[in-house]
């Protein structure tokens, strides 16, 4: 049972436009969500996170939106740059809900390609 789903394996956008990456989850105990970016032959790099007590968190060009009722979050990148081309992973944890060992559950990732 996949608790974190990224239904779009790939996304292609033009440079300067907005990139929207989506993520759905099924476990209502998840209370903290993170986005990671991964280049080939490198480990995932932490991008931005959001607690379940918020519905938006912004950091420069990156904004994460959380819709708890829909169990849905999205990552917006504005404006998109060619260097943003990478695989983006959504991850979730239930740390504050009493989860043990701080386990992160990841989606399968979305390959973003930003075309010049």
């Amino acid at each position: 049972d996949q608790q974190v789903k990224q239904n779009s394996p790939s996304l292609s956008v033009q440079e300067g436009r907005i990139s929207i990456l989506n993520c759905d989850y099924t476990n209502s105990m998840f209370d903290y969500f993170l986005w990671y970016k991964k280049y080939p032959a490198e480990g995932p790099t932490f991008l931005i996170s959001i607690s379940s007590i918020k519905d938006k968190n912004e950091d420069g060009r990156f904004t994460v939106f959380l819709n708890k009722s829909a169990k849905h979050l999205s990552l917006h990148i504005v404006p998109s740059q060619p260097g943003d081309s990478a695989v983006y992973f959504c991850a979730a944890s239930d740390w504050n809900s009493g989860g043990s060992n701080y386990k992160l559950t990841f989606g399968k990732g979305t390959l973003l390609t930003v075309n010049p």
Binding site: L34, E42, P44, F46, K103
Partner: protein, 113 residues
């Protein structure tokens, strides 16, 4: 954030052999983790490596297959034992920082023939 290195970066191993992967952090951290990413799949937590106590394994992973050592607060090893082609994956260590965020090493790409 902490700087994390892994050795080896990649290896090709024969079926039935074992490989030990090292993870070194440039600062002391309480919690270290080992993940696996099989081809086309998401990252899956293998175990949490705690200094001074045995590692805590996730469902589907056992100590005999993936023994873990954590001799101090900056170093851990993961051994993949009695390898089969199904163990071909990227193995990643991570550390917990800022209370909630995990930071990852560059990964070890393992191919078992």
């Amino acid at each position: 954030s902490a700087v994390i290195s892994q050795k080896p970066s990649r290896d090709i191993c024969q079926r039935g052999t074992s490989l030990t992967i090292q993870c070194q952090v440039d600062s002391q951290v309480t919690m270290m983790f080992w993940y696996r990413q099989q081809p086309g799949q998401s990252l899956t937590l293998i175990a949490t490596a705690n200094q001074g106590s045995e590692a805590t394994y996730e469902s589907g992973f056992v100590i005999d297959k993936f023994p873990i050592s954590r001799p101090n607060l900056t170093f851990s090893t993961l051994t993949v034992s009695n390898m089969s082609p199904e163990d071909s994956s990227i193995y990643l260590c991570s550390v917990l920082e800022q209370g909630y965020e995990q930071y990852f090493g560059p990964g070890t790409r393992l191919t078992v023939t």
